[in-house]
């Protein structure tokens, strides 16, 4: 286990060290202490390592993550795991706005609540939120899966493309072109896997979720839909 004191060593040294880990490395376990809400902690990591952040983080923690497993033992500020490519990011507490925004792949798990715009413009990432998500979540979400064990705020999935949204609790309102869809056996299988990998097994049953997806009416401009744009 490599321990890195962020307060003593500074953010540039941390990220330069983590960026130096390429491909196979013997330094596979990292612990970052004294994060104190700093920005861009462990952003841009590109190696199959395990990183644990002991405390809460600021903006863009684990942004652009590739291959690494990054666990935040606290809450995360805006843009956690933004544009993640692969790997896993687990936030033990809450996440601020636009968690997992534009994510291309990998798994983001938020064990508390996520704030507004969670999964905005997601492009293949899987997101599992144990609590609730805020308004405008999954806005223009393109592909990937969003699983919410709690409730969703206003305008869920506005202008949605092909991302699949699963919400167990209430949805305050659906955004333009987002509709409820049938939960079929393949979705139960998908949920079973995501709940397991999202450390939510036993917290919820796949059958308790409702599925939401795109009505596919806003894909191309149609003057009859002008009011909905």
């Amino acid at each position: 286990m490599q321990t890195f004191d962020l307060e003593a060593m500074g953010l540039r040294a941390l990220n330069a060290t983590l960026h130096g880990l390429k491909g196979q490395t013997n330094q596979t376990a990292w612990e970052i202490v004294n994060p104190k809400g700093a920005h861009a902690i462990a952003a841009g990591v590109d190696a199959p390592v395990d990183i644990t952040v002991r405390g809460s983080t600021g903006y863009y923690c684990a942004g652009m993550n590739k291959l690494a497993t990054i666990r935040v033992k606290g809450s995360a500020g805006p843009g956690v795991a933004e544009n993640m490519m692969s790997g896993t990011v687990i936030v033990d507490g809450d996440a601020s706005q636009y968690a997992g925004a534009t994510g291309r792949g990998g798994l983001l798990v938020i064990k508390g609540n996520a704030s507004s715009r969670c999964g905005i413009s997601m492009k293949g990432i899987d997101i599992v939120v144990h609590g609730n998500i805020g308004h405008m979540s999954c806005f223009m979400a393109q592909t990937g899966n969003m699983v919410v064990l709690g409730d969703a705020g206003d305008a869920l999935g506005d202008s949605l493309y092909e991302a699949r949204l699963f919400v167990r609790g209430s949805v305050k309102s659906l955004g333009a072109d987002c509709v409820e869809k049938e939960l079929r056996p393949e979705h139960i299988a998908l949920l079973t896997d995501l709940l397991k990998r999202g450390e939510a097994e036993g917290k919820a049953k796949p059958s308790e979720f409702k599925r939401y997806g795109s009505a596919r009416k806003l894909y191309t401009f149609n003057v009859d839909n002008a009011a909905a744009y």
């Binding site: 805006p78 601020s96 706005q97 507004s116």
Partner: protein, 298 residues
């Protein structure tokens, strides 16, 4: 972008440390607003006493014998404490309006930053660390305070464009965001008798709340009315003599984090502003909901 910090103490034992705690929070928010900084601190006054904080671009001239001149105009006792470009004048509470009128004649160049039974406001252009040092913020005590670091968007980087804005007795407001209908709201408020020092959007929000309070609204209702009448992006933190409030617009893209313990309620634009507070590790920490009014009163 701007930075906001706020601290409302529940535990009297922390009151001597309010200035130090707020100064540390303010300096941490320098990245969000290096143009100017300001702080409103509520530290009370003696029974039957009131305070006026004034600012001058020429303090050596304006503050010379100001206490004597004011005493001759409104009667004793008048106390003055100079702090860099600002001075705090303590006057009898029943002479507060008379003192303000007298000041306008005695020193026409002075700007009144705040007036009331408890509030003092200090603000200047420059890095938060430098502004805090000039006014000795770290040594100030009080019951609650609000600080702001400014990255200007709507109006010029000037002392009067810095936050907090005070538009009513013991009231202040700071803002992260920008308002788009402030000119029309300012016109309405002017017609209703409110006066303005600047072209700044935030001053309009402050005056809007002051006007509602003057009409008899509660702090909660006055803050709630910003959600229907003000258009734009905002996280507001508001102070009154005995209260502290927070409201965010329905889109809520301007960040806000709150922390509460048995000792205090704290606000920060970012969590890192609060990491030095006592007991933060076990505090209840949350993000204020959009379009929801939060306030605490003693």
């Amino acid at each position: 972008m701007c930075g906001i910090v706020g601290l409302f103490l529940k535990d009297k034992a922390l009151e001597p440390h309010l200035g130090q705690l707020l100064t540390d929070m303010l300096i941490t928010m320098t990245d969000r607003g290096p143009d100017s900084a300001g702080i409103a601190i509520y530290s009370g006054a003696g029974e039957g006493r009131a305070k006026i904080t004034v600012q001058s671009t020429n303090p050596t001239h304006d503050f010379k014998d100001l206490d004597e001149d004011l005493k001759n105009a409104i009667g004793p006792p008048v106390l003055m404490l100079e702090k860099d470009t600002h001075a705090v004048l303590e006057v009898p509470l029943d002479q507060l309006d008379a003192a303000r009128s007298a000041l306008a004649h005695l020193r026409p160049g002075l700007k009144v930053m705040s007036a009331g039974e408890s509030i003092e406001i200090f603000k200047e252009v420059g890095l938060p660390r430098d502004v805090a040092a000039r006014f000795g913020l770290a040594k100030m005590h009080g019951t609650h305070g609000i600080g702001h670091t400014r990255m200007a968007t709507e109006s010029a980087v000037t002392t009067m464009g810095a936050h907090p804005f005070s538009t009513g007795s013991d009231q202040c407001l700071v803002h992260n965001g920008s308002l788009s209908n402030h000119n029309s709201v300012r016109r309405d408020l002017k017609r209703a008798g409110m006066t303005f020092e600047t072209e700044n959007d935030t001053e309009v929000a402050a005056a809007f709340i002051s006007h509602k309070l003057n009409e008899g609204s509660t702090l909660g209702n006055a803050m709630g009315a910003t959600l229907t009448d003000l258009d734009g992006f905002f996280t507001f933190v508001v102070g009154t003599r005995n209260g502290f409030g927070v409201v965010r617009d329905p889109i809520a893209c301007k960040p806000a984090v709150m922390a509460e313990t048995d000792q205090y309620v704290a606000f920060g634009s970012e969590y890192r502003a609060m990491v030095g507070l006592p007991g933060i590790e076990t505090a209840r920490i949350w993000e204020p909901e959009p379009a929801t009014v939060y306030f605490w009163e003693r």
